[in-house]
Symmetry: D2
Subunit: 466 residues, 4 copies
């Protein structure tokens, strides 16, 4: 029956069918240990559950189960303490662990793979990993949301310009802008939560493609691993990587969100805009220019959208045209999904620090606030209340702005009679509609940038993020 | 007060602030009418609801409302019958409709835009469109799923090879493979349904960025348009395009799924594989080679993954680094989302036709079924039941396969004594574990490719897709 | 011999092998006429050359050639004047033209396709198109480069801040910045020129995949169409779309370049930066906010990087895993390449207009120029000339900046004794190294942002772009 | 003058301007040492040349130069032998090397950065790296081309089907198909060579953005580093990453090529196609199914197109909208370019091994060769030579194929009178036009799949790849 498998840790256990072996370069090309060793905990957990189910189903004895279990614990302990050799010829963490097990417990270790294929095993490990990854991402998203909420509480009542097209648009409370980022992030959390439902399915028992003739108890394995259900179709279960593609998309969109915020803040903290002051701890200077203070952390956060989108594109492209049923191409799924999550986790962490230590530059903001005719819309809306159709009101105010700009005045500085001449129905109460502070006070519907709305939103988020 | 706006249909209504006009080339560059005219129904619907709310809130009179409403209906009628001129200088469908309205009903038409900006209006129109698009996609997905289920009922009991690595792996019922595609598509439907919840939010009342000082009734507008809720933050509401990115992702992954299925079936219908016969109506011949019958529809379906992934990448990249608050970049969102949906709808339709008219080539399948040692796993599992550790059983059978291949035999043709010599515990009952038909009968757990499992799955899907 | 082909314009000429026909929906799915009708001139040109070669090679008579040639001219005339019906059942422009030809000239038209397949014909048409597209792109790139050079001549001597990390870095002449864009664009032109060499290869004579048994004169066809060489391998020639992928990449990177420039100028023309004033003709206002002047053209130019990258990704993904030998997937190549070129051409045109009409806001620039310690590096370099190691000099100046910032001073306003105390070797001549104007004068090596360098570069570009 | 820099290896040398420091997590987020340490040789080489130029230009003394040079050699030696600590706080390999130098040679080390910024230094290092990377890629491409040429010599005269749409199309010599791959790869080599010209430009002397006031000799530095020219514009030079984007594109298209070839060969080596036999050394078996022999190496090669396209997309997206002038986002360029090259190098190596050890399964090919009417086009072309218009000939043969298929015959088995009845002008010599071997003999023009053409191509490639 050939040589004893347990004598040779570096020989793959399934190779009796093939008569020549890969050379070192090819072996290293085939291997994914550099990336999938990160999955070791999940592989051990899956094997423990599988072995227990096998014993409960009578496919192995209680004694065999205990030896396998103890062996797996011992392997886990060695990996945890970085004591397990992982020869690249074994290709992946799954074979490394199985080989180490057999080495320790002998032939009984060869029973662990009963009714199991690497195909359903890998799918399981990835799902266990993805479930944890989502939970970690959601925590970090909430942490960043809380940082924005805190800033909205600290300095949220400062009136600042809201921008469209990067031009000054309407006045708003600063807190309103901070909560816009919170909204954006909440959708990330919601999408991740939706994705988690599709992750949370047990694939064990699917075999290599079409299942197994052995009487496995799939419900039990699922239960032991905390899955609410198991997969319905073995072919699909072993070749589906939708959950990773979806996770990569969620990470990509999250990274795009962070890039939008980073872009805002990079611009807001320029010498020219001067709305925000970032803490020195999140900036660096220049190797050549002694005066520089650059928002490098924000730039690197912004840059991550490149990697985020690239990984998503890469994984989807990998899946394109791939026949169903497992193909080795799927091994590379991890090269997209694992760094996608890793990158988001670290960007979120640093982002929370940036937000927590940033402050609005209130004096400079106040200085420049009345530039740019932020109250023009309010004036047009005042005319609407006086009965002027909005389109006419818009046109009238547009003309007044051109005139005021030419004369170097603000709208509030235009004499009442001039306003009347241009627009007809203007009373002295118009002054309560001009100037950013007044405008902000008058914002009416929910969702606008005024104080009442901010309070309501802050309450909502503080409760939700608690 | 300047010239009468209603005199000039091609002048943009907000241009009093600017003193020079775009030339024709620039005007055409700025315009999105070629793509957003598809949104006209949604723009009219949104304006009708907005006008009604304005009248109920006292911002316009009941009479003004009726004139606006009738005007909008008349404009809609003209668009429906392709009678409305759409000068490119008006840039987009929103301004085309407003200009046409003002032309018909006079200055009162200028009241429609009260408390509204193109920014929240466009967001609304896109959401109304996306809601319908998702519903259409879900119907078409279900139609294709039903075609697979029907095929699984027609010829599902044929035993075929399941493939991994495109090599023959384990035997399975054909219906099991068809239902693998159904599973895949169901996740598409689920994701679309999740996306719909995030689409289904009313943005009207957000103004250009920070809201409005006019007392709008946002709850009422939302209700009139069938939205369960309205947006919480005006800045976010006007610059959020997550729902389109998510929709594009759902379409991209759907197109990847279709590419995987198309690839399978292109290969299965080659002369060499010969598993499937496609209907001539879905094939074409060659302009040069008279004998050809090519699966062109499947190839074009496969190709759509390129466009699907490209559009997703494109939209995410467009959003990357974009400051929040509306920027004109967002106008191009439609150039990704609309064709993404269109392409999926037509591919799904054609796919359903391909599946409905395809048939398995039963005689040819039967001929080749016992090639490739599909029962090798079953034999190893037989040994497991006799107490051999799976790893050893695997190794023994691997050796037997090499030997059988050399001798040009099937496993079932190996004499019992040879099996015994190699594997020890083999009895005459081993014959019930060999041969594809026997293996399929023995599949045990849920989700495997046998008859009992197929029946259960078919029942599940017939009920679900009913 | 079946029915007369010329009776039925809408029946595909190769369909005798198949017994059922596509329904309308499938026919429309199979068709690419909506996009490839743009190739009609190239298809006619290719057929004219092919027919002439056939007659010169004796495969058709001189008379047959003339009838085919006249027929093709008549078809071309009808297409040019939009008089040719193009039934979607004919799928593509190639079959439309052939069917129209046969209808006009009878069976002799059926000789045109002698020794030719749609596979080598389509490849040819695309190469003819791509060659022209590259020439058009190069012209437009040069036009935009000239606009930058003109601006560098008009206002190039204005001293402005060069930015790194969007923070003020070193002073530079404005012309130097304008020529940075010219450099970037030159690489686009160079890449396109390289791509053109790979485009410029004749594929006719490759047949469907493996060639033809007919004695074609490939050299002659190539010569007639202006190709310096013909393809070496028929399988490669019919399935190669590298030249389109490369063209899409060149367009993508060009669009990224335009996005970088657009981003710069959007920021430079904000109220806060105020470096640049854009002409109103390239801006729009807001539908709600009467005061707005937005750089919408720049935003749309920036947005095109999304489409540019998306199309490249899409085409590469389409090609991924595609077996060599023509597959119908390739039909969709046009859906990426044609709009990629179209989008770049129109963006380049508009960009040239934006640049030609823009002006630097010299008074505002002068006002703010000395903010941000732009001369700090120069001061450090002064110390270097006095023997201080650069790292120490950098450190000393860094400290001086902190101090000056605290005291609200510029570096030039720090008393000499304070400088000496901090840095040691400082003489009165230090004043010639402080202040932006002085720094710019002192720039030494080629490629720096001073006047001498600018002059040299301007001369270079004026000669090159002439 | 503050504390001695050489006391503190982990403090960044430019930080005197900032008053608080990044925590460990932020420091690690800012660092790129994990990826850019691969650039160390290039950084040392660049610094050696810069220092030499500084001394030749009189900016440092000959003695200072020698101390710097010796210090750099000693640092290089330590890195080579993995003896240099690289604290993450130093962020990147450039600062690690400078800090180590200063530690060894004292303050004189602080003179190395004279007239240099990390911005032009990083650009230089990347260009030096990219130049070598391109040379390596070109060697490996040639190696793979030679493997195909060898195979074309070993078994190139075997007649096989050429496929279109994965359906049997025309007969060809196998060598012709192998050389199709060689053509494809040659374009990769050509593109890389074009890219190299754009890489091969020296950026040193550009400073941080606008140059330097110190009198550097840029021509000399370029010469010392083997660059034929130096950059013309400092702003462009420090923010240009086109050369990396182009390199990533070249790698992406190369990876797409490999995926097309891998797909072909995965299919050709299935049980069903049986054209090719891969060496066991490049295959693996299954953990569950003892009979499997899977083309895993080819699958992993195919999968790399995902990473290849993803990295290209990622880098382009990173660059999108990035203001010119260095931003920290550019630090992440290496995360795309370095693994892009690495992945291609290893895939090319393994691919060459796969090709070198593969063999065509001649008996099986011969068995199946006459399936699929590969001679149908030849028959139609025979009719053309008899004067039948090609379209009619095509139609006639199409009908004959339907009939032959129905009767289970080959075209060569159809009686002459039947051929005559269908097609008119058929003589006994038609038999020389039927059967794959005859067809291949008759291929006429250059570039077709016959023996004469193959010989010519083989000669061409052997000379070129010598």
């Amino acid at each position: 029956m050939g040589k004893n498998r347990s004598e040779s840790r570096t020989e793959k256990s399934w190779q009796s069918r093939l008569t020549s072996q890969a050379d070192a370069e090819t072996a290293s090309f085939l291997a994914s240990l550099d990336v999938d060793r990160a999955l070791w905990r999940y592989d051990i957990a899956g094997s423990l559950a599988h072995a227990r189910m096998l014993s409960e189903s009578g496919l192995i004895t209680q004694d065999e189960y205990q030896r396998i279990r103890d062996g797996l614990h011992s392997v886990a302990d060695d990996i945890e303490h970085d004591r397990l050799e992982m020869p690249v010829e074994l290709e992946d963490i799954h074979m490394v662990i199985e080989a180490a097990l057999i080495e320790r417990v002998g032939d009984v270790g060869g029973k662990l793979h009963t009714g199991r294929s690497r195909n359903d095993q890998v799918a399981l490990d990835l799902r266990l990993w993805a479930r944890d990854a989502i939970d970690d991402l959601c925590s970090r998203v909430a942490e960043l949301q809380r940082a924005f909420v805190d800033l909205a509480e600290r300095q949220g009542k400062v009136v600042i310009p809201a921008y469209t097209h990067l031009q000054r648009a309407q006045p708003t409370l600063a807190g309103h802008m901070m909560l816009a980022y919170v909204e954006m992030l909440q959708r990330d959390a919601d999408r991740l939560t939706d994705c988690r439902r599709r992750v949370n399915v047990c694939t064990l028992g699917s075999g290599a493609a079409a299942g197994t003739t052995l009487p496995l108890d799939r419900e039990r394995t699922a239960e032991l691993l905390g899955f609410p259900r198991y997969s319905r179709n073995s072919i699909d279960a072993t070749s589906d990587r939708d959950f990773l593609a979806e996770l990569c998309f969620d990470c990509a969109l999250l990274s795009v969100h962070l890039s939008r915020w980073a872009e805002d803040w990079i611009i807001f903290s320029t010498g020219e805009f001067g709305l925000l002051v970032l803490d020195d701890a999140y900036c660096t200077s220049s190797s050549m220019m002694p005066q520089k203070k650059n928002a490098d952390t924000l730039e690197l956060i912004r840059a991550q959208a490149g990697g985020g989108i690239g990984r998503l594109t890469g994984l989807l492209t990998l899946l394109k045209s791939l026949p169903i049923g497992y193909s080795r191409d799927l091994q590379d799924d991890k090269r997209f999904a694992l760094p996608a999550v890793e990158a988001c986790l670290s960007a979120l962490k640093v982002a929370a620090g940036v937000v927590a230590t940033a402050r609005l530059d209130e004096p400079r903001i106040a200085d420049a606030l009345e530039d740019g005719f932020l109250d023009a819309t309010s004036l047009a809306e005042y005319l609407v209340l006086k009965g002027v159709p909005f389109r006419k009101a818009h046109q009238v105010v547009g003309g007044l702005v051109v005139r005021a700009e030419r004369e170097g005045k603000r709208l509030a500085e235009i004499p009442l009679e001039v306003l009347r001449e241009a627009a007809g129905q203007v009373d002295a109460d118009v002054e309560k509609h001009l100037g950013s502070a007044n405008v902000v006070k008058r914002y009416s519907p929910d969702g606008s940038g005024g104080a009442r709305q901010l309070l309501k939103q802050l309450n909502y988020w503080k409760r939700k993020l608690d």
